[in-house]
Every structure is written in structure tokens, then in C-alpha cells.
Amino acid sequence: MDKACLTFRDLTLGYGSHPAVHHLNGVVRRGSLTAVVGANGSGKSTLMKGIVGALKPMAGAVTKADGVRIAYLPQQSELDRSFPARVVDLVSLGLWSRRGLLGRHTAQDRATVAEALAAVGLEGFETRALDTLSGGQLQRTLFARVLVQDAELILLDEPFNAVDAKTVGDLIALIKRWHGEERTVMVVAHDLDLVRHNFPETLLLARQPVAWGATATTLTPENMARARRFHEAWEDDAPWCEPDAHHHAHDHGHAHHHHAHDADALASANGPKAA
């Protein structure tokens, strides 16, 4: 059971020459449910993009276990709501991993789609046009698509934004159902109470990982204060992070000496599962 689903090896992701996720090491266990928490600009969404492969690492690597399929719900969907499509059309896209480009959608597939819509409380919405949905309904539609994707690794980037309390409850129930089915789930979230109540594990990011482990030991006041102290803006004259300081690239548990001022933060950063 303790097998790795995702492994980060000295992963650095970013834009231009500026890192947004800096030297992340560690392992996401198969079947774990992890909240990713941090201030704006702390690298949460960037990490998600890196895992999906939408962003190439600047250094290091992220490796998936063999045969792991990913379902990814981005924070800023590029969904075109004016496209003439119905709710079922959007949810049926989730069948892609099984049916691909040319495979016929069977009666079984249609039943799967209908079940997914029922699971998010959208029975009777099948033929509704996308541009007639409210924000929360659209979010639930996208959850239904994640359900249909039937993936081993599920990444949700701020799925609770602009969603009412009841719907948040429904979505949390779905996430717990996935957790119960031994799927690996990572959720970017801002509501710390929600994280404390529902997520067994938390990764606290502030560009560098600040803490990673059981939620209760991660979201301590000291860690939160440390996460808040990070400098959000990029600096063009920031010193280069020299690669020769990284011959320990594959040595997970190693602290990063070239960040002397962060060394204490990073000692815990590599996480309980890293060494």
C-alpha cells in the first residue's frame, strides 16, 4: 500500500528564469489525500501543471508510477462556454482515456456519464447548453467529467472557488469517495478549516516547500508564519541558483545548503516520506 504514485526529485518549475516551485523533493503515496496550501503565488497551480506535464521542469523531475492516469481540473479552465455543446458532450470528453479518438461510445459509456451526472446532483441536465449553466453547476459538471475519467491520480486546482456551501459539501463527499476507492487525490485549497477537517495530509508551499505531512503537524502556527514570510515578487537581480550546488539531486533527504537562510525551513520541507 505504501507505494509511490508520484515522486518529485529536486523539482524546480517556473517561468522565464524565475522559479515558482523551488527544489521540491518527496513522494505522494498511492491512495493518499493531500491538500496543497500556500499564499498566492506560492507555486500551487504551477506544481499541478508540472505534474500534468503542461509545464516542463527547469530542473529535476517528477515521475509518475507506471500506468497512472491523471484527471486534472485546472483553476483557470480554457473551456469555451459559448461553444454549442451540451452538458453530456462535455462530460463525455472524460471517456477519452478509454475510447480515444475513434472508439465508439457504448451504451455502458452513456450509463457511466449519466451516473456521474447523478452523482454530482445534475440529473436532468444532460441536454442543457453549457452557456445556460451557473458557475457552480459548471463546476459540478467538470467534477462529473473527472468521475467519468476514472483516473488513479486526481488533481483539483481550487475546485471550491465561487461554489456555495452546500455544493462544497457535495464535492468534498465526492473527494472522500475517491479517497475511499484508493485513488490518489491532490487538492489546492485556501480554506484552512476545510483542509483541517477533511484532508489527512497537507503540503504547505511557499515557492519552497515549507512543510509536508499529516495536516495537524503541517498547519502549525509556526509553519504558517514561515509560509507567510516568503517574498512573492520576482527579482531580476536575484542570484542564480547554481546547479553545481546540486550534485545531490537524487539524494532526497538532503537539505539545501545554498539556501542557508532557509535551511531550517527546508529541513522539514523534504517531508516525512522523502528520506
Partner: protein
Amino acid sequence: MQALYALLVSPFVDYAFMQKALFGSLLLSAGACPVGVFLMLRRMSLSGDAMAHAILPGAAAGFLFYGLEILPMTVGGLVAGIVVALGAGAVSRFTVQREDASMAAFYLISLALGVLLVSVRGSSVDLMHVLFGTVLALNNEALGLIGAIAAVTLVSLFVFWRALVAECLDPLFLRSVSRLGSPVHFIFLGLVVINLVGGFQALGTLLSVGLMILPAAAARFWTARVETMCVAAVAIGFASCVAGLLLSYHAALPSGPAIILSAGAVYLVSVLAGTRGALRARLVTHRHRTA
């Protein structure tokens, strides 16, 4: 009855050039109209227009070296169109610049080059041929080319349908489940180019884009499904070709503009009277259901 026959049918029965014109323009509609639907749904209608201009230097180069011959002009147009489509597509995919700007840049360069080439040798009559086409002078060679283009287009659309819809509807999602996103985009641009090249034989570079965009834009007002929209666009394209050719025959008008104006008339009627058109939206809002 006799008068109706003389008006609508006999021109096509009596004259071989009218049959060929009809056949060629119908084939063209079958491929170009569904491509136009996707062009419109991707908000690339004006890119289609730009692309039509971009074909000009290639066609002009063919014309410069071989005169008014179908094959060299077609190949030239194809090459120019693909260079511009790939160039603009690549700039938008791999840099921060959006496709509208990169397309405008490439087509303007291309168009200027085309006009320059035509002016080096051609008289203004030749230029008119290149710009407005000669649907009534379609020969078997041209018909074969248009038929092949229509066949390639329809087969490609059928094969890549799901990816094309996904790429329009939710490109980020497609990227997360499949590597087809970028290839499908370029395949689609390729379809746009070959259909414009096919069209410029019959309608000229300036008007070939009309048969692509106008039926699609009109069909948008009648249906809310992509599948039916494509069928409706093809039907509108067919009707425009028949109407335009008859108009051209009876009133002795140039055939290309007559076809495009017919499609334009259908568009204007659709804007007003379509089931999703302007008038309907005004009239129906007075009543509403309880849920």
C-alpha cells in the same frame, strides 16, 4: 411549369459549362462549409479571410512562371498557404503572441508579395482572374482537384471529429489526456488552406473564403449543435451555389460574386429570422415558464 423549368433547370441541362460549374461549386461547399463552422467556432473567421489573402503570392508565382494554368497556381497557393498557416500557428503556439496577431503579420507580408508578383507581369485582366476566379470555365482537371480536396476534407473531419470538438471546447483538457492538441490544430489549418486553394479556382482568392464563412455564420442562427450546424451549413452552401449560378446565368453577372451574395442573403435572413436570430429573441422573451 414550363417557365419554372426554363428558369431553374434548363440552364443546367442545356449547357455543359453550367453543369461543371454546379458540380464544382457543390463539391466545394461539401468540404468548405463544415471547415467554416469550426473556423467560426474557434473565432478564427477573420483568420480564414487572412489565409485567403496569404495564398495569393503562391498563386501569383505559379501564374508568373506558367501563365493562367491550374496546376502550378494551385501548388503555389498550397505552398504559400501552408507556410503562412504553419508560421502563424507556430508563433502563437510557441511564443506569447496570439494567433490573430501572428496571422495578420504573416498574411500582410504574403499579400504584399503577391500583389508585387502579379504586377511584375500580369495585366489587370489576369489579376481579375486570380482575384475573382472563373467558375464558368472550370475544366475536368479543376473538378478532379476540387473533388479530391472535398474527399480529403470530409475524411479528415470524420476521423478527427472528436479531437477537433475537444480542441475547440476545452483545449487544456485535451492537452491533459492526449498529445493530439497541437497536431489537430495544424491539421485543421491545413484543411482551411486546401479548401481555400480549391475555392480560388472557382471563386478567386477573395471570394473563396466567403463560401467557407457565410454558410457557417448563417447556420449558427438555426441550431445549437455542432453536428447539425455542419449539415445546415452545407445545405446553405448548396442552395447558395444553385441560386448564385442561376442568377449569374439569367442576369449575366459574374458567377463568383453571385454565389457569395446569395450566401450573404441567406446570412442576413438568418440573422433576423433564424430560430436563434434577432427577431425570435425579441418576440419570445415575453413569456416564461415557472421552472
